[in-house]
């Protein structure tokens, strides 16, 4: 191997993109990991997500190891045995041939068996977790919630469960409220197409398939708000089918349950009462339930969020809008199609109608 200084310089220049690229790549990596990401699956905040993460971590490092070995060998081979002459347009005159190795059966059997063993190790850790995450909790052990996926929002029903203070079922939408530190057992159904329920910091995802009933577990360690979203492509506004899980400590859980079990008071005067009337006149009640006032919806109406306790939530319409911002809700009533593909269809409302409706909706706490 005769490497003159000249060829060596060539060599270094050619390799230039690599270190440059590596530097950028590692910067990117650092930047990526440092940032604060509310749906980061590598920062679990509940027991199930942690189980998953604990499974993932060692496997990630196995992959890193294989990566380093393979890329190391490749880079080593390139650096060591790269032909440094100029062979761009004449390969045949590249001079002496290297030794003609045809293979090495022992070695090859070795690198067949070794990965197999590594993977067998991975498998041993994987299989039990599959069953663990599909286990059904005993009755009363976990809070049960019926989840409904619909284009493009989430509905939740809490059947009556005295263990959790719920004596009179609760219906709500988009924001799932749970007690922190307790298991939650979801029963997932879809009214139209396939959706997928996912709150990354609390657990993986489970598809919500029409015609089938699936179950899924959640648990949050601490009180807090956890971001999530529909993860199966479900049509035009799939991107806008987000959700929140709100975990409460014991006291605020009790308070929430109590609030949710109260029927809202029918407004008798003022703008709100006007809105109450309009709610029917403008057809809202054809789709939306407000318990105690509008219990029946039209048969052919699309599934729509229960509005009984609308203002107990912070976000609406697939959790893409802020309910605390009056403008957002007004804009929604003006044009529900601002969320592309929304199934809410209303006629043109006047600004006065909107003010009145807003006043009424605001009473639905």
């Amino acid at each position: 191997m005769s490497a003159t200084t000249v060829t060596r310089r060539r060599h270094r220049r050619r390799l230039l993109p690599r270190p440059w690229f590596l530097a950028v790549a590692s910067l990117v990596l650092l930047a990526g990991c440092a940032s604060d990401a509310p749906q980061d699956m590598l920062q679990p905040e509940g027991s199930f997500a942690r189980t998953l993460d604990n499974l993932f971590n060692p496997i990630f490092w196995v992959a890193v190891l294989v990566f380093v070995v393979v890329e190391g060998l490749i880079v080593y081979a390139i650096v060591k045995w790269r032909y440094r002459g100029d062979a761009d347009d004449g390969v045949a005159d590249a001079g002496e041939m290297p030794a003609q190795l045809h293979g090495n059966t022992r070695l090859e059997i070795g690198w067949t068996i070794l990965p197999a063993l590594v993977l067998a190790g991975v498998a041993v850790f994987t299989v039990p977790v599959v069953f663990e995450l599909n286990a059904e909790p005993a009755k009363g052990e976990a809070l049960e919630v019926d989840v409904t996926g619909a284009q493009f929002w989430w509905g939740y029903e809490y059947p009556s469960q005295p263990d959790f203070g719920i004596t009179d079922g609760i219906v709500t939408a988009n924001e799932l409220h749970i007690p922190a530190g307790q298991r939650v057992y979801l029963t997932l159904r879809s009214v139209d197409v396939i959706h997928s329920f996912w709150a990354p910091k609390l657990n993986g995802k489970r598809d919500v398939v029409p015609g089938r009933v699936h179950n899924w577990l959640l648990e949050a360690d601490e009180p807090g708000v956890y971001s999530g979203q529909c993860a199966e492509f479900c049509g035009v506004s799939h991107a806008n089918m987000r959700l929140k899980v709100v975990a409460h400590d014991a006291t605020s859980w009790d308070a929430w349950v109590e609030d949710m079990q109260e029927e809202p008071v029918e407004p008798v005067s003022g703008l709100a009462a006007e809105g109450f009337e309009l709610f029917q006149q403008r057809g809202c009640s054809g789709c939306h339930v407000v318990e105690g006032a509008y219990d029946e919806v039209a048969e052919d109406a699309p599934a729509a969020p229960d509005l009984t306790h609308l203002f107990s939530r912070d976000c609406f319409a697939g959790c893409i809008y802020d309910l605390n911002d009056r403008n957002e809700l007004e804009a929604w009533l003006r044009d529900p199609q601002r969320k592309a593909g929304s199934k809410m269809v209303v006629g043109q409302l006047t600004e006065a109608d909107i003010d009145a409706l807003y006043a009424y909706l605001e009473t639905l706490e």
């Binding site: 940032s35 499974l55 496997i59 290297p98 993977l119 197409v193 398939v209 993860a231």
Partner: protein, 680 residues
Amino acid sequence: MALTEERPPLELAAGDEPVRNPLGAFTRPSSSYGWRSWLTTVDHKKIGILYGATAMVFFALGGLEALLIRAQLAQPNGQVLDPQVYNQMFTMHGTTMVFLVIMPMLAAFSNYLIPLMIGARDVAFPRLNALSYWVFLFGGLFLYSSFFLGGAPDGGWFNYAPLSGVAYSPGHGIDFWTLGLQITGIASLLGAVNLITTCLNMRAPGMTLLRMPVFVWMALVAQFLLLFAIPVITVALFLLMFDRLFGANFFNVEAGADPLLWQHLFWIFGHPEVYILVLPAFGIVSDVIPTFARKPLFGYPFMVFSGIAIGFMGWGVWAHHMFASGIGPVSVAAFSLSTMFIAVPTGVKIFNWIGTLWKGKLIFTTAMLFAVALVSQFTIGGLSGVMHSVAPHDTQQTDTYFIVAHFHYVLFGGSMFGIFAGIYYWWPKIFGHKLSERIGKAHFWMMFVGFNLTFGPMHIVGLQGMPRRTATYPEGMGWDLMNLLETIGSFLIAISFLMWVYNVAVSRKNPHAGADPWDGRTLEWATSSPPPAHNFDVEPTVEHLDDWWHRKYGEDEQGRPVRRERFTYLSRVDEASRLAGGDEPDVDVSAIHLPSPSYWPIVLAIGLPLIAYGLIFTYWLAALGGVIIIAGAFGLGLEPSVDPDAGHGDHGDHGPDEGHDQELAEVGAASGGDDDEEAS
């Protein structure tokens, strides 16, 4: 790529205009050059070029769609595309790249190379081969015509039911998708039957199965996968089509249907499909790396058997795409395990490639750069694949950009890099001149960097919870920077692709490369560049694996190869190749007969999209299509494969790019390609 040539048509004896049927369909086409020859050719090499050129055009389209996707996602709350259009973009992007780019690109290589590599004159059924191409082309055009006829499909490339049903996708987009893919499926199926028969039955004497180049092996395995996978997706597409067009209930949940049926059928096809997409690329690099490492492939039998093992195991893993879809823990566990172990045969390949590099004399041509890039980048995608196979955690990963990162690393880093390696490697064989190495290297590095910049950060945003197929994302999710980088990366890829286009355009003037510019190992290098229509003047008799290499090199006492003073090419070659020590065979090629060109394949193929339009718009069109197909089938069936009236005038077919420079014309004359003139 020059698809037309200005050469005079075949001279006619009397010199006056012949009476031709205006449609031309009933007189047998006879010229083997000129634009019309491309419509009627049955030469596997021309068909290969047609496949390749078409696939690259579709790559530009699919890439353009990708750029729009990236433009939309460059920032949170992007406003470039509205969600309807965005959904069409990723659906068409995925569908295009899989069905209209990589599959036909590999059909291109298989068509062009298999006969040459096994020492055959053509494929087993040349006219069926032409039919496959035209069916594929019309299927692709049909699919793309949806953009002008009410909107492209928008259900994603795996189009899950029931979203794909009429109730939720009332437009015609999905109809175009089901029918278009059925048409291209026919092309793939015909191609599979043809190429398998070719590999098994058309080998030159002495070309035993275990002397076939690894590319041929991997293409063969891929064709078997196609043979058995295409009918499965055909069933799925049929059922969906009947649901949509005739009100059947296969995916009608109200009637009690189970949406998971679609998922099973799709992925029973879909997983073998991904190996269809990558195995031929593995084959390409298995031939490129030895050439430029100047060593034989390390562990040829292991390479062959691991490829077969991958093909085989690929049938038992499909439900890893359904870990979150509720198939029950027992199924999940079973498919999780089967998926993991597919890494074993793939690992064998990676390590054997490294073994081939080991102690070689590595010459980094552009082809070699792409090949080594495949080895290193595919590994990354493979490793994320193994992470997905850990089923419990896949419930986190699935439907996020972590998956998008995985499959671009295996598809782009695997299949596309392999394809580019193949393009740079075989270009001189196909067109007689090399692509510029200087531009090629710039292309490679730009693409390599752009690729990693585009798809590397997707791992990170994926793990940070960014779901795929979302037309927009809000601020504050921590995904902004990565997405911007990805978009920048995608434009670097676009620039690199334009560099390739430029390379193709300017390299036409490069000097003739000779028959064997890379000192290759396999039989295609033993014939002229481009090869004559009949491929070899003498039918090779094969004695070794890497037979051509053994014809050129003997061994000294230490077992080192020593180039022989003289060896014999299998066709008449150019001056330069002769000077490099090769002799020419002395044979009369006029006794070789090839099947004549035919109009029927293209005529028959055009019936299929007509039927498809008919099913969507008006049944009259379908009836017309049916009549054309029946007529075409009888025409093709009753027409003799060799035209009795053609005399001996049509076997001197020319390589595609011939006649463009002086040097080449001489080569053509030397390689016996000019019998046209003699015969007439």
